[in-house]
């Protein structure tokens, strides 16, 4: 499956709350040591839920 969007993480804004990781329907994101990381980019369905729920303006979903 190919990715429907490219996810950009702005690391300096991310506080590692992990809301995006928990509520991603296809488990694209994973928690790193301090900030979130894109672990499974191909699974992204461009639903935009991570961007909408990120309280810290740290995720941008660029639809392909």
């Amino acid at each position: 499956m190919s990715a429907k969007a490219e996810i950009e993480i702005i690391e300096k804004y991310c506080k590692g709350c992990s809301i995006c990781v928990e509520f991603c329907p296809t488990k694209v994101l994973e928690m790193g040591a301090f900030v979130v990381e894109v672990a499974n980019a191909d699974a992204c369905i461009a639903c935009n839920q991570c961007e909408l729920r990120c309280p810290d303006f740290a995720i941008k979903v660029h639809k392909l």
Partner: protein
């Protein structure tokens, strides 16, 4: 392209001060989207707040903003609207600021039905000052000033607003992020006082005292307790036990205050 929030935020202001997992950031994004939907001219929009975590919000927005005394946001906002009736006035604040310290200003803004939008972020606690209980802290919940559990019954902000005379009342949650901007946009377009209550989470001062072990636990609570008003109509009272209704709860039309006041001035001047 991803949504451009940066154009509405003052340069260099991010990252914001809110704690990891605090829903206020989600509400701020919703507010920005709502202002874009309604195509509000940023130079003709005032975002007013009192004191508290939620009241830090205007500091980030690139609109006209006013950060006022604790609880007094609605009073200052009323002043702005009376002086400049054409200005879009949005009040933001928390549950403690809006319903305890500013409870009086809140109910009277509702009663006057002045054309403003009041976005109230209800996280059930006074977060900034150290987790004291607010009128919206659930009965039995622990706060720094109710260590044995809160003995007080709680305010239902939406019912309070309806009872006090607000003409548009809606409720959403920080979890249901898609809905936030739609509710706020509807409130902005409404002529009269619109109250948008957003149920929010405070993992730092509420969650960890009340057995919500993580941000996710708090978000799941919002997800599980919210029931859309349309779905609630088909549910029994037992099924609705412990749930909160979300969506547009009340929408009616009544004379708007600044218009009535303008008429009064004309009448007094003998026109």
């Amino acid at each position: 392209m991803a949504y451009d929030y940066e154009k509405s935020i003052r340069p260099g202001k991010l990252p914001h001060i809110w704690c990891p997992g605090c829903g206020h950031g989600i509400v701020m994004k919703g507010l920005i989207r709502a202002m874009d939907t309604c195509e509000l001219d940023r130079d003709n929009t005032a975002v007013v707040s009192g004191i508290g975590c939620a009241s830090r919000l205007p500091g980030y927005l690139d609109t006209c903003t006013l950060h006022t005394a604790h609880g007094r946001a609605a009073a200052f906002a009323t002043g702005i609207k009376m002086a400049k009736p054409d200005m879009n006035v949005i009040v933001v604040g928390g549950d403690g600021d809006g319903t305890a310290i500013g409870g009086n200003h809140f109910i009277h803004a509702c009663r006057r039905n002045i054309d403003m939008t009041y976005v109230i972020m209800n996280n059930s606690i006074y977060g900034m000052t150290g987790g004291q209980f607010s009128p919206c802290t659930p009965t039995g919940a622990k706060a720094s000033t109710t260590v044995y559990g809160n003995p007080d019954p709680t305010f239902d902000i939406s019912k309070l607003a309806i009872g006090a005379g607000a003409t548009f009342v809606a409720r959403g949650t920080a979890y249901h992020a898609v809905q936030i901007d739609k509710l706020i946009a509807e409130g902005i377009r409404h002529k009269g006082l619109a109250v948008i209550e957003i149920l929010d989470d405070c993992p730092t001062t509420y969650g960890r005292r009340n057995k919500f072990r993580s941000v996710i636990d708090m978000m799941k609570r919002l997800k599980e307790t919210a029931v859309p008003v349309t779905a609630a109509a088909k549910m029994t009272e037992e099924q609705l036990e412990g749930k909160v209704l979300t969506g547009v709860l009340y929408n009616t039309e009544k004379p708007e205050y600044t218009e009535q006041y303008a008429k009064l001035i004309k009448r007094a001047q003998g026109a």
